[in-house]
Amino acid sequence: MKICLARVDERLIHGQVAVAWARITGSDQLIVVSDEAAQDEMQKILLEMATPAGVKLLILPVKEAASKLKSRDLPGNNVILVFKKPEDVLYLVKEGVQIPVLNIGGMYFKPNRTQFKKALFLSEADIETLKELSSLGVKLEYQVSPMNDKEDVLMIIKS
């Protein structure tokens, strides 16, 4: 099992992930890590439908994802991990899960957020979470689609 992409995307599985990222990485397994998605039947159904043909989907609550990722007890060869929020990634990393690079692809408008990029809206709390992830050795890259340029998130929030 190899993690070919770890991405924060509030829309979880949608065009960019289902079509662009899945194809470019040659992924055979999508794993959504989110308590919210894991508890919501309707979301689960929608996620299943958005998953492209030939790719499997697993939806896991955060704690279960942490323990299964640490023990590598997960299906798939080429895995894309998708998170709804950076706090969940931070939890995993603090639990000892190895995530060398985190792709930030879609954090959208919320009332307490400032816009930094087209798909990068961050609150003070978000910024703190990202800084903490970076201090734990996670490289943070803003890249919406594979053909967009990669940008260093730390540089974006410092400016």
Partner: protein, 153 residues
């Protein structure tokens, strides 16, 4: 030393109204910016010679292509007819009709590693397979981690 040039098959969407440019916009929303990709919107009041000249000029503006695929909306419509005419005089220009977003996405994802005729076949099959509907009964499947076979519905 090899001073080769990478060729990229050019894609031009030509449609009635703004369907073409909107499809391109949608495709780039999903895939990011793309080279050798253009749209020509055919306004109702435009004459065919104008459309013809526009198409020729866009085709000529694309650099380093080994061929161009013109994606049109309707078989027998003016965009299709003009593209067809150009294609008859120009063997590296190919025409497809019935463009939709799944088709555009496929063509952009596969054009770096498919010869042009194969790319056209993929475009058509993805365009067709991208059309469907999910029966309500199938919405309640509770299996986890299964491959969702879209053909089942």
């Amino acid at each position: 030393m090899w001073f080769g040039v990478i060729t990229i098959i050019g894609i031009i969407a030509v449609t009635h109204g703004r369907v073409g440019s909107s499809l391109i916009e949608a495709a780039e929303m999903i895939l990011g910016p793309q080279p050798n990709l253009a749209a020509i919107d055919f306004a109702g009041h435009e004459g065919l010679p104008q459309l013809h000249n526009k198409m020729i000029s866009v085709i000529q503006s694309m650099e380093n292509t080994e061929g161009i695929i013109v994606l049109t909306d309707l078989l027998g419509g003016s965009p299709y007819n003009v593209a067809n005419l150009i294609s008859r005089n120009n063997p590296s220009v190919y025409v497809v009709y019935g463009v939709n977003l799944p088709m555009v996405l496929e063509v952009l994802l596969s054009r770096m590693n498919s010869p042009i005729q194969e790319l056209i076949n993929k475009a058509i099959s993805h365009g067709k397979n991208g059309i469907g509907s999910v029966a309500p009964a199938n919405l309640l499947k509770k299996e986890v981690n299964k491959t969702y076979n879209h053909a089942e519905v």
